[in-house]
């Protein structure tokens, strides 16, 4: 295939206009010896018919399109409304660049403004940005902001954060600057965190619900962090936030809420897609806005006085501020934020809450069924949202294998994160799972557990 817009004849006339004899004359500054003579050793060209054949075959090597998923761990098989897909695939949204010329980008800009508005509402914060790469880098950016804001270097991260989020934090911040506290018993434990706090700590990062699906005690963590002069950073699931008091809200005792709320926005209308593209969201207090990473859309008016939107505070960003920028992020996850905006718009006030409630009901139903299967038990005792850890009578890998044979992906084998977790299965149940599917899932557990 070729999408080149020129014919050979046109090329010739263009070379004439340029004033050179042959194309190669245009390459005079390239050292001869590095100019490739031979075609690149890549396959193709393939027509669309052949591409469909090849990628279709590859896609069927995955189990995903013929298996019922109980996988979670940050990314979930949530319902995606049909209308969302129809809207998001429009060229106007997919093939536009970053809205640098607002006069011809009000579509993207208005949607970003709506995204910011709904994320701020969902997290209980004052402002939100236009997106970051994923939940993990959003947590990194929160840590970096906290460091700048406090002038302190160390970051405390709960051990109940997603192991991959911890790993990314470690990569960006360095081993030395990161202290992992609490969490291995299931909950972060405000006491464990308080114990780790010190005057060099910039912030405390915890997840709510956490990696094990458990609800934390956000207020206690916020109080501990604030008492030590550190910022409190919550990593939240956006579906859970439709039901739970948002961490940004003040505590029941009036104590201050989290300073920054970040998270993974994939559940808002985006497919898991083997883990990418994802959608990092970032919300914080208005007071921190000038240190925020990423793009921000703001309301203004045009020359005719009509409402419109523009990117604002660009002086925070790399293309203006260069090495002094608040972050190096440039390309973000715009289309996923658009999808999330449409998702939240379609589901709306009632739909968001219903999704969250269905998750809770179905997850607890599954947990009850599982607990009744001989040999299985819940690993933790606390309240959980749409995910729980199951202690299996056999290695979790045996359960996932048994499930695959039955067209069920029964959960995430936690053995991949720690050897001592190899009998642990992390199970997520979304609103998409029917009672019948949950029953089939329980049967897989039974079969794997009894070794048949």
């Amino acid at each position: 295939m070729s999408f080149v817009g020129l014919t050979r004849a046109e090329e010739r006339s263009m070379l004439r206009e340029i004033g050179v004899g042959r194309f190669e004359d245009l390459l005079e500054t390239i050292p001869r010896e590095v100019l490739l003579e031979r075609p690149l050793p890549v396959a193709g060209p393939l027509s669309e018919i052949e591409l469909r054949g090849r990628f279709g075959a590859w896609s069927r090597l995955n189990q995903a399109d013929r298996a019922v998923s109980f996988l979670g761990g940050g990314l979930y098989d949530h319902y995606i409304p049909a209308a969302l897909h129809a809207i998001a695939m429009r060229s106007e949204f997919t093939t536009a660049y970053t809205p640098y010329q607002p006069e011809v980008a009000q579509g993207s800009l208005t949607a970003i403004f709506e995204f910011q508005s709904m994320i701020a509402e969902l997290t209980g914060m004052e402002v939100a940005n236009a997106s970051l790469y994923d939940g993990a880098t959003a947590a990194v950016e929160a840590a970096l902001l906290a460091r700048h804001q406090t002038g302190r270097a160390r970051v405390i991260a709960s051990g109940a954060l997603h192991p991959n989020v911890l790993a990314v934090l470690r990569t960006y911040l360095g081993e030395e600057a990161l202290t992992v506290a609490g969490g291995l018993g299931g909950l972060s434990g405000a006491e464990d965190i308080a114990a780790a706090l010190a005057p060099d700590v910039a912030c405390v990062i915890y997840a709510h619900p956490n990696f094990f699906g458990l609800l934390e005690q956000p207020e206690a963590i916020h109080r501990a962090a604030h008492a030590a002069g550190a910022l409190a950073v919550a990593v939240c699931d956006p579906i859970a936030l439709a039901l739970l008091e948002p961490p940004g809200a003040p505590g029941a005792d009036g104590s201050a809420g989290a300073d920054i709320v970040v998270g993974e926005g994939q559940p808002l209308g985006n497919p898991p897609s083997f883990g990418g593209p994802l959608l990092g969201f970032f919300a914080c207090r208005q007071a921190l806005v000038r240190r925020m990473p990423g793009r921000l859309a703001a309301q203004t008016v045009d020359a005719h006085g009509r409402r419109g939107f523009v990117l604002t505070l660009q002086t925070r960003e790399q293309h203006i501020r260069r090495e002094k920028a608040t972050s190096n992020v440039c390309t973000n996850q715009g289309l996923l934020a658009l999808r999330a905006t449409v998702y939240m718009g379609l589901l709306g006030r009632e739909g968001m809450r219903e999704v969250a409630e269905l998750c809770v009901q179905k997850t607890h139903h599954a947990a009850r069924l599982a607990a009744a299967v001989p040999g299985y038990a819940l690993a933790h005792a606390g309240a959980f949202f749409r995910e729980f850890v199951l202690e299996c009578p056999v290695e979790a890998a045996r359960v996932t294998e048994a499930g695959r044979a039955q067209g069920i992906l029964p959960g995430v084998d936690l053995g991949q994160f720690r050897p001592e977790w190899k009998r642990r299965l992390l199970v997520a149940v979304t609103e998409q799972r029917s009672a019948a599917e949950i029953t089939r899932w329980a049967a897989v557990l039974a079969r794997a557990g009894s070794g048949t």
Partner: protein
């Protein structure tokens, strides 16, 4: 209030709702019992709008955008080329879209295959020894590479000494920002003539504290650095690594392999060179390709093949660690691989050829009307200066805004910083001669308008969905979220559309 352009929150209201969820088909229990001790929120001030109206809202918004499927988009440094729909279709195959990164290797052989095949193709194209597809964008690629360079220096006991990274003043903003983010100190050197490297300045800046040099090839004026191999050799002599910002790879694909120029590593922007759609700001993907000596430091996990089976290697003691929650922007990787395989070797070579041809054609034509800061042929893009119009009180910004009236997007303006009133124009290879000529004619007409009716340009654009927006007010008022309207909004006023 008019019916058009209302925000979602200003529509509908209590009682309106979108698509239904299924009834609960499992035994249901009170939330307080299931979530003991949890504080539930009082309310969620989200919109309440029916599905038909939500659809209309976003359709209405969509058509306010300029986009590549609508017209010319010569945004320099952004490579706004045609985005083949087949690539979106393939990335959307349920087997890919529904695959979960924690499903386990046995359940995801197809996805791992895509990553593996793409890696092989990118190595062929760049000439490097190994590549990671984990970075989610170019900037993250830069950061990833710098962390690897740091790890390499540390592995040689030079980590403490080498703390500086040299960046030309013409570099893209992400370069110095990534330097800073990775804990290095950015040392800016002034560009030589035409944004080429000033070998003297570089030589002076290089010393035993230098960890790396970051260069953009072709540079931000669209020129190929003629002495590039001397530059990389010089840096290597000083013990530094040389990083190539590969965002401009559209000029080189199939023509030159960056590894052959002496670079140690580079990032690619799949959302530029490899045609994945920009999505109004993202997502992209910024794979990093490296020479063999940097391979041990690549992020984990790595996709490896053994006897035809693919697996994820995590146990790599020298790795810098993870930079992404999963495996990078997989959906973008699918698209890029489809693009590469669709084009094949000849097609890929055709990309840079036509990109260079289109740019030179436009450049020579427009050099008759605007100021061109150099005489050389350009590669895939070029930079003009609009300073000649200043005498009429017309700035480059005015030219950019007026262009919108001709149904084309504006070039990148005021970048690179080293050219006064810069207009950075990248036509890409997928544009036709018709489109180039139309753009050139518009630019010429605007130059004429600048002399004759400058006011027209100051007030431009005139035919766009919005006229010029007040950016100062936006920054002053900082309205970053909507206000939830009070109940009982008035009957919408009725106005015919303006034209």
């Amino acid at each position: 209030m008019r019916l058009e352009r209302r925000l979602l929150i200003e529509q509908g209201g209590a009682g309106h709702r979108g698509p239904a969820l299924p009834a609960c088909d499992v035994p249901s229990r009170p939330l307080a019992e299931l979530l003991p001790g949890a504080r539930l929120r009082d309310g969620l001030a989200f919109p309440q709008v029916s599905e038909p109206e939500v659809v209309r809202h976003f359709i209405e918004l969509s058509v306010l955008n300029h986009h590549i499927d609508r017209g010319f988009y010569p945004l320099g440094s952004c490579t706004m080329k045609h985005n083949p729909k087949i690539n979106d279709e393939l990335a959307g195959l349920p087997g890919f879209a529904l695959d979960h990164p924690l499903a386990g290797e046995a359940a995801s052989q197809g996805s791992l295959r895509v990553i593996h095949e793409l890696e092989q193709a990118l190595l062929a194209i760049t000439g490097f020894a190994a590549v990671t597809t984990q970075p989610a964008a170019g900037a993250q690629g830069e950061m990833t590479a710098l962390l690897m360079i740091r790890a390499w220096h540390r592995s040689r006991g030079e980590g403490d000494r080498r703390k500086r990274v040299i960046v030309p003043d013409s570099a893209h903003g992400t370069n110095p920002a990534s330097v800073n983010l990775s804990g290095y100190e950015a040392v800016t050197i002034a560009s030589g003539e035409h944004a080429t490297v000033d070998l003297g300045a570089l030589g002076k800046a290089l010393d035993e504290r230098t960890a790396a040099v970051m260069l953009t090839v072709p540079n931000t004026l669209g020129l190929f650095e003629p002495r590039i191999r001397e530059v990389t050799a010089l840096a290597h002599q000083a013990g530094a690594q040389v990083y190539m910002d590969g965002a401009n790879m559209n000029a080189l694909v199939g023509l030159v392999r960056p590894a052959d120029l002496g670079f140690d590593c580079m990032h690619l922007n799949l959302h530029k060179t490899f045609s994945t759609p920009h999505g109004g700001g993202g997502p992209g993907a910024g794979p990093v390709a490296v020479s063999a000596h940097l391979e041990p430091f690549l992020p984990v996990p790595r996709v490896i093949e053994k006897n035809g089976t693919l697996s994820l290697e995590v146990d790599r003691p020298h790795s810098i660690g993870r930079v992404h929650s999963a495996h990078g922007n997989f959906g973008i990787l699918v698209r890029a691989l489809a693009y590469i395989l669709g084009l094949g070797p000849e097609g890929l070579k055709g990309v840079s050829r036509a990109a260079i041809l289109n740019a030179n054609y436009l450049m020579r034509r427009l050099a008759k009307t605007y100021e061109l800061p150099h005489a050389e042929h350009c590669m895939h893009e070029f930079v003009l200066s609009g300073r000649g119009l200043k005498k009429y009180g017309v700035r480059t910004l005015d030219v950019a805004k007026r262009l919108l009236d001709f149904g084309v997007h504006a070039p990148t303006v005021y970048f690179p910083l080293i050219v006064e009133e810069a207009l950075m124009i990248e036509p890409t290879e997928t544009e036709t001669l018709d489109r180039l000529d139309h753009f050139a004619a518009a630019m010429e007409r605007i130059a004429k308008e600048a002399a004759e009716t400058p006011q027209l340009l100051h007030e431009a654009p005139h035919s766009t969905p919005a006229s010029r927006l007040d950016e100062g007010r936006a920054a002053r008022e900082l309205k970053l979220r909507w206000e939830t309207p009070s109940a009982g909004s008035p009957e919408p006023a009725v106005e015919p559309a303006r034209r």
